[in-house]
């Protein structure tokens, strides 16, 4: 039987667990060691370490201190791994913790993190999703039920010092262009949890440790929904032993993780197997991870596809800007779903949680980029296709998503 190398107790703080860390730094000691060819299980907290609760208030979403995230399990040392290798990770299975069969999705207040559509949805809202076997539904969003495309939002190997310095430097340069703009997050030692490090060593590493928020060369917080259970991932290795960490599990998510808080976030476990391709980074010219998707993913193949172009809702013309185009595609889908009775917030949540695809459709036809949002129709309890007899308001509006107004 496969060993569970890292366990988490959801009734305790992640700060008490020395196999958890929330910053990237090469000095974080390995939580455990495995051999190439081994398979093993790591348990994980949800990305907030249990801050968001299974209740009907969005106060926690509004009030969270985002310098605390993400709580990762690891790093796992792989014997024989050296800088320049590729660490091959088979995600054999991923699941929720049996004592925590639910997840959350929400939008942060524009004052605290925001999200992709924060101009349109500026205040904190939350929905809770229950897991029934491979499927999920929400008491806050009626009429949808779908199979989970379960994946880790965050996975990757430790950077070496040179890579870490590079990250800190380039992100600081961006911050310096608008220091109060939230453009990036510098090291934040106050809430850093550095695994087994203590004392001086911890303080030093915490002062330098890169935040876990952005995806970077090592992978990290990619939030790629298709990097799901059953996938095979090839990670660059920067330090001896590789130092693989994982967390931020999602029961399901749409492309873009547009709601930011986040996908359907959950605590859980990952069963994985590791092997090595020695010297693989140079052999294959690898800078960022590459991966092969799973053979087991929900086979929703009937989509309604929304187009968006890089002209914003105020009519302003942008130059080949995919962000604007995807935002428009999202807003178009939200308007559409409102015709069936959903509130805008509910529609936005569906786009953030269901296995929605976001495609970069056209990026050369000046001045408009074109993006498409693919909404699977089979996740709805009713028919959402357009037809001549017009939309039927299946959702009566009696059920709403919790909203917490910003505090003055």
């Amino acid at each position: 039987m496969t060993d569970t190398l890292i366990k988490v107790d959801l009734s305790k703080s992640p700060l008490e667990n020395e196999n958890i860390h929330n910053r990237w730094h090469p000095d974080i000691p390995m939580a455990c060691w495995v051999n190439p060819g081994d398979d093993f299980i790591l348990e994980t907290f949800d990305w907030t370490g249990g801050f968001i609760k299974n209740n009907d208030s969005a106060d926690d979403v509004r009030d969270i201190d985002l310098t605390t995230v993400h709580y990762l399990s690891g790093p796992v040392g792989v014997k024989g791994a050296e800088p320049g290798d590729l660490l091959v990770v088979d995600l054999l299975d991923i699941g929720a913790k049996p004592d925590s069969l639910w997840g959350f999705n929400g939008f942060f207040s524009k004052k605290n993190g925001g999200g992709f559509l924060t101009e349109n949805f500026p205040e904190a809202q939350k929905s809770i999703w229950d897991f029934k076997g491979m499927f999920t539904s929400s008491r806050h969003i009626p009429g949808v039920n779908f199979a989970g495309l379960i994946h880790p939002g965050l996975i990757g190997c430790l950077p070496d010092k040179k890579m870490l310095d590079l990250w800190n430097e380039r992100e600081q340069q961006l911050i310096d262009t608008n220091p109060t703009g939230g453009l990036a997050n510098p090291p934040s030692p106050g809430t850093a949890h550095m695994g087994k490090l203590t004392g001086e060593a911890k303080a030093k590493a915490a002062a330098e440790g890169a935040r876990t928020v952005p995806p970077r060369e090592h992978g990290g917080n990619c939030d790629i929904k298709d990097l799901s259970r059953g996938a095979k991932v090839f990670f660059p290795v920067y330090v001896d032993g590789a130092g693989l960490s994982v967390g931020d599990l999602h029961f399901s998510q749409g492309d873009g993780e547009i709601t930011f808080c986040g996908a359907i976030e959950m605590a859980g476990w990952v069963h994985m197997k590791v092997t090595l391709i020695k010297g693989g980074m140079a052999k294959y010219g690898i800078k960022n991870p590459i991966f092969k998707p799973s053979v087991i993913t929900p086979a929703y193949n009937d989509y309604l596809i929304f187009e968006g172009i890089s002209v914003d809702e105020a009519g302003k013309q942008y130059y080949l800007d995919i962000n604007v185009a995807y935002r428009q595609a999202c807003l178009n889908a939200i308007e559409y779903l409102k015709k069936f009775g959903y509130s805008g917030a509910q529609a936005y949540s569906i786009l953030g949680t269901a296995p929605v695809q976001g495609h970069i459709s056209g990026v050369v036809d000046v001045p408009n980029a074109c993006a498409t949002l693919w909404l699977p129709t089979q996740i709805f309890d009713f028919d959402i296709n357009p037809n001549a007899s017009g939309p039927i308001k299946h959702i009566d509006g009696k059920i709403n998503m919790p909203l917490s107004h910003d505090l003055k």
Copy 2:
């Protein structure tokens, strides 16, 4: 038997054909009329009207006058269609002209149009693709052979005057920010072909007629590969009769049409059926077209997926910029393919022509957007998956893509 309502003679200039136009303007007379429920066939020129030839020189790609494009077939009037309706178009089938079973792909010179990776591939190059039944391969790019995901790059209804003015106005505003920067293309009456319009009426419309380059509210040049034969599209209607035009057929294309010149471009025909949803724009809250993909598309499902983040190859950090992230994913894939013996240009062409997916994977994790490029492995004659025994150089480099240096 289904009627071919518009015919094109590839041995003649599109300018001689009054059922062809290359600008958008509500005054362009209908080329023909149909009833809701009718199915019919329209033949089309390739987007350049035959300028690019089936030969081994990229001079034509270098020298093309891009104010001439795109040559569209139409507009087709649909009886009873009124502003505010949705025109439902079933793309029953699409194919190449039997006397023109080939297509072209290329990159424009940075001095004349460029492309998504124009900094990396600044000079004109071309590849020719032969069609054998449902499959294509190129004499300029060995080792790949794939089924066509055949689609119109450009399709949509005529704008009304108000919409046209809006387009011209907002694009001019963008141009005005950098008049020599090629940010957008204003009306260009000299090369305008306005269908049946002649004389004064033509001159007036040509002076105002919007260029066909960008996708806009009506659809237009969306270059969405999944809007393929078998798809069902719901177009906004702005003028009485709708005025549906189509052209710029692609035998195959990757998400983004990153090579710009273009997909695998071809002359051909479209068999379609039209129906109406009266008042559908308001009923369903439609601004841009929506569509349902085909049930018949190439079922490549074994992908190798490349990640890219919004840090460019010089190490510069961008803020949640999907364009930069997708460009990096593309460059990562190109570096990878070079390990198997392809030139960079050949690898770039594969990404532009094969049914490659481009996903918007993460857009909220400041400061890095994450995009993924999905490369189907089954289109290659050899195994491109990474493994411990390393890449094998299957391509010997003897075959090259034509390149034409910029003229001094």
Copy 3:
């Protein structure tokens, strides 16, 4: 441009075309020769050579002389092919003849051929299907419309004399067990068409020529719906030059071709490419053809699945008999569809024409075999899934399939 090596004129009798034959015999001269690596097009008659008409009477289905079928195009000689090789055939594309965009389906009278459910549907019936691009629908069966899974019902290489003798011998032994039972069809020289053979040579070959009805070691009349355009087939070679013939094209068919007359039968053309694996039969232990399915097939993936077991409708228990089990699954599906308003004959036709799957689900649990019939739900204009509010009779019964009573 690809050569059309065999042409057919649908206004003439196939008997006038010396590149057509309707028996298998090694003496039939090659109609034409190709080289390994060549691609080429063959046109074909429908399997009856034009006997069944596009009209609203089933008299032709009732009256057909079944000794005349199937009219095949070929044989094509492949230079260098020798007995023991595998002939690799890429079906690059298949289509209907532009002057014949329709097909037929029917059930033979029990007195003349019958069919899988001939006890239940003992008289001749017919439906006509129109092709609109990649899709088909019938004026005799409302409410269904589906994409064609286009394939040749019949394709294979010439037998050598030894193989031919084996066929004739073993089938005659079966016939001898019940000479009037229609168990198999012996050579029938009167209606034999032997391609270019004439005179004595023709008479001799016609007397020995195996009927084209059954599938055999060489493939032949397999009626495998998934051997469709885009598939790659590996055929055993028995004679020098291989001698590849093809015909009996189907626009679409369900597993089993249960209606026998037949799938959606059509005249058309096949674009194919041939290569060789020298000595492949022994190398790979091949007795019957093997193949790889197409990457382009209709992606209907929402099925309603009907089970059947080997107890017949009279309650008789059979021992692990898949035929009985599949027949029951078919009858169960027909009863189900009748609840939506279809006649039994219409339902039976849908099972015979749509891309229905028939699976051998259990064959060891004595005494009952279990078979399943997979009905794609997306081919219907309405929802056929069961639900608590019960079936809605969408079909009003006003449209019927032509039926022709047996003549006394």
Copy 4:
């Protein structure tokens, strides 16, 4: 959190568990009751109740008393269910018991059960399969590794007395045609386990209780691989409360369960939800269960397909016999796999365990039925496609499957 209504202790005999039964009889008391809309979990023994062990001897397969099977969990009473209703069962998830992450496959001796190819493989053999997350591989069969298409081999509702009598009667009539032939299995009270029944009541029910071996009108031992986790099944109801029982879980199986002992057999658990369609049997004309397949199944779509016709390996001609045709397709696939180094037994096991499809391809072309076996190529560690450079013997024959000779 979902309740586990029936638990099993794998260290104890199923005979000690009163929520287990191994016969069908309406008098078996409900093990527990649920309401429509409830979801719940049932644990199950493997079908032999633990008789087959995780070891390297096939003695247990040879020696098993087949009158003991199958050990089912249930019956579960559903409040409000009445005869004539349809019981809708959503299979929300299925898995192995955490303390039993392995399964077995084997062939029975021809003297004790046999199997589909028992003439070719007449002696007892066994392979053990380990589960690593969603994947499985065997220490007895190298070179294959695949994702589980997990399903219950056996599931259905209790028959009423009339249905039970019908079963016993018609099967006895078959037995009477050849009493020693093993054509079917009559009630076998000696090893009957009737749940909570004891004393007289048990003795009476045991004497009448139908064996669980065959699939019947209620579903039962259908061994349909696609009735997998995520599927939705509609079962006929014959008794008040329905009485749903389940067992015989399979981690994976090929169509037909051709090895009989059996699929990859395992102990485990089923998470399901039940609802009712009142009067659904008559409304929808239901005799046998119908179902909709899962949206989460392994997406192997690259197949090598083997044809078989109804002529056996001795050359004997059968009349439209799908069993013979499928047997030939299986034997053809086995011969093919032997070219890569597998033993016949290993190849046979792969066909019995992997997600192989068996299609009824042609059933009307007298005298030959045609069946096809679809072998997914992606489950192999190496390329099994045919090509001109011939098969490579990847398997060296050093690893063998345990075989136990029949005892004299």
